[in-house]
Amino acid sequence: MKTIEEINRRIKEGSVNVVTAIEMKEIVSELGYEKAAKEVDVVTTGTFGAMCSTGVFFNFGHSDPPIKMQRVWLNDVEAYTGIAAVDAYLGVTQLSETLGMEYGGAHVIEDLLRGKDVELRATAYGTDCYPRKEIVTEISLEDVNQAIMVNPRNAYQRYNAATNSSGRILRTYMGTLLPHFGNVTYAGVGELSPLNNDPEYRTIGIGTRIFLGGAKGYIIGEGTQHAPPYGTLMVKGNLKEMDPRYLRAATFPGYGTTMFVGIGIPIPILDEDLAKSTAIRDSDIVTNIIDFGVPRRNRPVIRKVTYEELKSGKVEINGEEVRVSPLSSYRMAKEIAEELKKRIEKGEFLLTMPVERIPSRGEFKPMRQKEIKVVRSVMSSPAITIGPDATIEEASKILIEKGINHLPVVDDNGRLIGIVTSWDIAKAVAKGGVKVEDIMTRRVITAHPDDPIEIAARKMDVNDISALPVVDEKGRVVGVVSSQDLSKLLAR
């Protein structure tokens, strides 16, 4: 048994034994827990991944005459100002109003950190104490009074891996997912990740001093969505002391901006249990591969997988080998663990015990919603359909008489085999054609009666179409849902 005071004394004396979590696995397998606990004083961990819940509180100082900023933009990226007059919070995923996904809050933070000037623009309603209504100026990191990084959710212990069963490329916060299980992506660095090395959260808690973006930072509590073993941390640190090497702006195409954040956490080896927990291996860390092809909250789990398999670069799905991409940088995580080790050895970084533990249990509840409106409740039903052998004249007559633009084509059993639109009819008249089956579109994009209406709307958006036949499990057409049906319901 050791105390944190003893370990800090050794750090000050220069006699401390610090190893990285990678080295610790080897030491424990060589010496066993008991001996390793005696030999090793501190194990350093690290992670470097895209962490969307990241941002910075700024205090810009007061202008003359002063302004109570109602809205503020830094390089056209809006920051939250619903706090005191010249305080604002800039989140990394906020997009530029002029450059969109190319530039976001993360890029502003990185630019400031690299010493660049940033345009500050603010508007206000004007008060007796804050008469100014508008300001445009340039600021640098040096100019602002404070730039305090406060990240509500960082350092995920582990995370669900992603794949895509659908027939379309998906652009997600888990990167680009190729169709038909074309690839798998995962986040986190497994056995090197801080929380996996202290899964009981005995030494990682409120007040723990950490490495954050190259500077000293602190854990201020459990993070949002903290749900062990998918634990998360809320952290803070001084942006002015950070290093752009460990904070990097990123864009995930089609999703938006985010920031790679480097975090390192030292774990004091107080006893054998901590020696044991820091010996955790990738093969012991299990997560799920989930299917982003299903755009619902409860995405289906394709299979369970260990970080060892994910790191091998290939996993098997439905008997096929699928290539895997990490989204976190193991190389940078390792560098951070090594850098933190160096700083402790040099006596620059002392360890702390938490002033309060973070919960070792947690529940991740879904949002309370009034109701989830589904396609069934808004579709036109029964569907007006036509057979493949009908003539184009018959089809056009139905379209006109019923005042519709989309006519699903069904076989004798009512199963969908195509669709004809008024545009197809116009083309048929121009080019010739006799029967419906000559001109119908055979690859039809459909909706299910239980799909939420937002899913149907997104399908129409992505495919640039204005209606979907609604098809049940047996392939029978039970209705048609049009963009007009949906626009009445969805707020624009």
Binding site: T185, R323, S328, R331
Partner: protein, 127 residues
Amino acid sequence: MLLELIYDSKVVKEPILTRVAIEENTLLNIIEAKVSAREGKIVVELEDEIADRIERKFTEYGVKVRRLERGVEKKDTCVDCGACISICPVGVFSFDKEFRLVADSSKCMRCGTCVTICPVKALSLPE
């Protein structure tokens, strides 16, 4: 080797690519093709040894030829995340022992997918 064949409005309608392949009795792997009424561009892959001969032949038939650099270029802004590894159709990217990202440029087909998905814009195709 990769050759970019640039067709102008005079030759764009001629089946020059197959003509060259037949006459020279060789295989040309089409990597990319964009042919419109007035002009066109086709990128073909072929054995290095026959490149000179094939290039001459295309030039004779009025097609402009440009040799393309193979392979992606990686800037040192790369953070070695590996997002590119699984989306590359030909497996250009992998990690070395130190978990640094390495690119085997000889495999690259210049599809450009990695360039668009790199979160820190560290990849580019040489002109």
